[in-house]
């Protein structure tokens, strides 16, 4: 059996890649994808702990998360499409006029 530390390390690496992408990439699609990466890193942790503890609650949570994430991505893409219609771009550097 693979030790739990491997899962946790893998999830941490995945999360770090996602966080790095969110903070640095200016392409909004890639930012959304990186958010998915971070989300899935958390999912992996859930699964790992669930298996480790022999408790199915974690897996139930993951299914819930996946469905919520799907809805969230749909909303995010819809916002992006609208933004693209108005501003003809989806670069985050160009979409800075929405502050106060």
């Amino acid at each position: 059996m693979i030790p739990i530390e491997f899962f946790l390390a893998f999830a941490a690496i995945l999360f770090a890649i996602g966080a790095y992408g969110v903070m640095t990439k200016s392409n909004t699609i890639i930012v959304l994808m990186c958010i998915e990466l971070m989300l899935n890193a958390a999912n992996i942790n859930f699964i790992a702990f669930s298996a480790f503890l022999g408790d199915a609650t974690g897996q139930v949570f993951v299914i819930m998360t996946i469905s919520v994430a799907a809805a969230e991505v749909a909303v995010g893409i819809a916002i992006l499409l609208n933004a693209y219609k108005i501003r003809k771009t989806t670069e985050t550097d160009a979409l800075t006029s929405m502050r106060w």
Binding site: A19, V22, M23, T28, T92, L95, S97, R99
Partner: protein
């Protein structure tokens, strides 16, 4: 029988003030209510004479030496009770008699003098009626607060009357501006003294829990109060007297106050206002005599003012200004007399020497007698100068001269006034001035500070010489010598309403001094029984004074000096055998310049008010701008600045927000871990 109605003495002129002030032009088209004002003050005069006669003759009043009746005005927490009422003793009787009598004559004179003022006579007569109300109320007040109210009414009236011509002056706008600034100066300078007086009243109220004369002057109460508090109160009250009576160093407003009508000057100088300061010191003798040093200060201020004011009169060309300086000088004499007498009384109390107290009491008599004498001759002199100004249309003595043929009555009455103030033998001023000089010399024999009185006596002798000189310089320049340009078209003697008061006053200016031989000294002296002061009730020495006067070698020295001064003035300004220009080097000598500049007193005031006042104002402005405003502005700047700073964080860039969120999570995480460590977990 009459004493119970003492409260009517100030009330009737006050009612006349209201009636004249509101309806003067309605019921009296020609004189603006002048006759009603004269009636009011005449009523007060008759009533005060009746009160005085009753008070002096009735046995019932002789025991405590005063009559007082008062009711509670208001009470405030801490057991302080303020009363209102009247207090009659011989000093109050004297004050109200001469103030109302002289005011009455001045009012009658005003009918002629203010003839050309038209509708503004209403304002004039209303204000002078209020002025007299202030003086009469001051004289009969039963406590310090009531006295202070009347004191301030006089301050207000002097401001209004000095500035009577500040709206439009018969001689042009410059004079009107001059009148306005003189009024302001009089008001502000006396205000300095009044603040000091008010502080003195607070000290008294703190010490005695009452401001009634009967409480404050009670020997048992004085003994039970802290000695230093009484000295402090005396000094502060004397500060008020300095301001009101224009003594050194607050003397500069009085010469400027000549900008008002001459009748107003006569009122201020003779009957009201400046006499209030002398009255206050005379009234407060029981507390002043607690310390000889206070009275030494009174005497020094008086002596120094007498001397310096007399020097300033020596070369002045304005007939009214000469009289103004002579008033300052004579007031100085009064304070000198009170100071010298009080000094001896205070020393007598300290050493238990009753003979010394009796000797000092004579100084009090001298001061009061000089106050009344001065009131008569100074009213006379001012009204005479008013008569001259009225018919020549100038105040400059160089434009007068040779008027004695055209204005016989004025010239003779003014001669009587001048002889009286100069101290010519047997005229009123002679007796009181000689008594003052004698008292000052007498005081120099006692105490450690006796030598000061010797110096003051020498100054006073020189002042007597200068007084005779400048008065006769004025008389000769006005009535003798070659005709000036304005005396050529002088339109003769003044009307009856002006000359009759002059004649009445000249009788008093000559003869009032003789009251000294008919019991004046028994009415106005200080008697002390078991430590309790009272005014009056002494023994009349009568004609013994005559012996005292004429066996004293210094009397003859003074008379000789006065005659010499009159002779020099005659030689310089009438006969022209001595050229005045030789003394002042045609106005080039430093002394002449110093005198013209009034010993730099106005300059000193300017410097003090500019340097000190402006400096203080600048300091206050600095505090206001940088500390008060600075705090407020700094706060708002801090808020705006931090807002600006924070708004920079709002880049609008999603990546930055995400980074901040990440950073926040990291910080939270580290904090939680640290917390676990502290709690001993993990």
């Amino acid at each position: 029988m009459f004493v119970e109605y003492t409260w009517l003495v100030p009330l009737v002129p006050a009612i006349c003030f209201i009636l004249v002030g509101f309806f003067g032009n309605k019921f009296d088209k020609h004189n603006g209510g002048g006759y009603l004002a004269i009636f009011g003050v005449a009523f007060a005069c008759v009533l005060s004479v009746l009160i005085s006669i009753e008070f002096f003759t009735s046995e019932a009043y002789s025991d405590p030496g005063y009559v007082t009746q008062q009711f509670t005005w208001f009470v405030f927490p801490g057991g302080f009770e303020i009363n209102i009422g009247y207090y009659v003793d011989t000093l109050a009787c004297l004050m109200m008699m001469f103030a109302s009598f002289i005011s009455m004559l001045i009012f009658i004179y005003s009918l002629g003098y203010m003839h050309g003022e038209g509708k503004r006579k209403r304002r004039y007569f209303a204000e002078v009626a209020l002025f007299v109300t202030g003086m009469l109320g001051l004289a009969i007040s039963s406590n310090f607060l009531e006295m202070f109210i009347f004191w301030e009414i006089m301050g207000l009236c002097s401001y209004l009357l000095i500035g009577f011509w500040s709206f439009s002056h018969p001689d042009g706008d410059d004079k009107a501006d001059n009148a306005a600034s003189a009024a302001k100066k009089a008001f502000l300078v006396t205000r300095l003294g009044d603040v000091s007086l008010m502080a003195g009243l607070f000290v008294l109220l703190f010490a005695f829990k009452s401001l009634d004369y009967t409480v404050v002057f009670d020997a048992a109460n004085i003994a039970s109060v802290d000695h230093n508090l009484i000295i402090l109160a005396s000094l502060l009250i004397f500060g008020g007297a300095i301001g009101k009576s224009a003594q050194f160093p607050l003397l500069d407003w009085l010469p400027d106050a000549m900008a008002g009508p001459t009748t107003v000057s006569a009122l201020i100088h003779a009957a009201t206002m400046v006499k209030a300061g002398v009255y206050l010191v005379a009234r407060c003798f029981p507390i002043f005599c607690e310390a000889s040093s206070v009275l030494l200060l009174v005497a020094i201020i008086g002596g120094v003012t007498a001397f310096f004011a007399a020097t300033m009169a020596l070369n002045n060309m304005n007939i009214k200004k000469v009289l103004a300086y002579s008033t300052l000088s004579q007031l100085g004499y009064m304070f000198l007399a009170l100071g010298a007498g009080g000094y001896m009384i205070a020393l007598g109390i300290e050493t238990g020497d009753t003979a010394l107290i009796a000797a000092g009491s004579l100084g009090y008599t001298a001061g009061c007698l000089h106050m009344v004498n001065h009131a008569f001759f100074k009213a006379l002199l001012f009204l005479c100068s008013g008569s001259v100004i009225h018919s020549t249309g100038t105040e400059d003595m160089r434009e007068m001269g040779g008027l004695d043929k055209k204005m016989k009555i004025t010239s003779i009455t003014m001669l009587i006034g001048s002889l009286s103030i100069a101290g010519f033998p047997f005229f009123a001023g002679f007796w009181s001035k000689d008594l003052i000089l004698e008292q000052t010399l007498h005081a120099s024999q006692f105490g450690a500070a006796g030598w000061v009185f010797l110096v003051l006596w020498i100054l006073a002798i020189i002042t007597a010489f200068m007084t005779a000189f400048y008065m006769f310089r004025m008389w000769y320049m006005t009535f003798r010598g070659p005709e000036g340009k304005n005396s050529k078209h002088c339109h003769g003697e003044s009307p009856r309403s002006m000359t009759i008061p002059l004649m009445i006053l000249s009788v008093f200016a000559f003869g009032f001094g003789f009251v000294l031989f008919f019991g004046f000294d028994s009415l106005l002296c200080i008697e002390i029984e078991h430590g309790q002061f009272r005014v009056g009730g002494g023994e009349a020495e009568g004609f013994e004074y005559l012996v005292d006067f004429f066996t004293n070698v210094w009397t003859y020295v003074t008379i000789a000096l006065v005659l010499l001064a009159i002779y020099i003035a005659r030689a310089m300004y009438s006969k022209r055998t001595i050229d005045p220009a030789k003394f002042n080097k045609n106005g080039e000598s430093w002394l002449y310049k110093a005198l013209t500049k009034r010993w730099w007193f106005p300059y000193m005031y300017d410097q003090i008010s500019w340097k000190l006042g402006y400096g203080v104002a600048r300091g206050v402005e600095y505090v206001d701008k940088n500390i008060v405003d600075g705090t407020v502005n700094g706060l708002s700047n801090a808020v705006v600045g931090s807002g600006d700073l924070m708004s920079k964080a709002q880049t609008g860039n999603v990546n930055n927000y995400a980074a901040v969120v990440m950073g926040g999570i990291v910080v939270l995480f580290v904090a939680i871990i640290a917390l676990f460590f502290f709690m001993g977990g993990l």
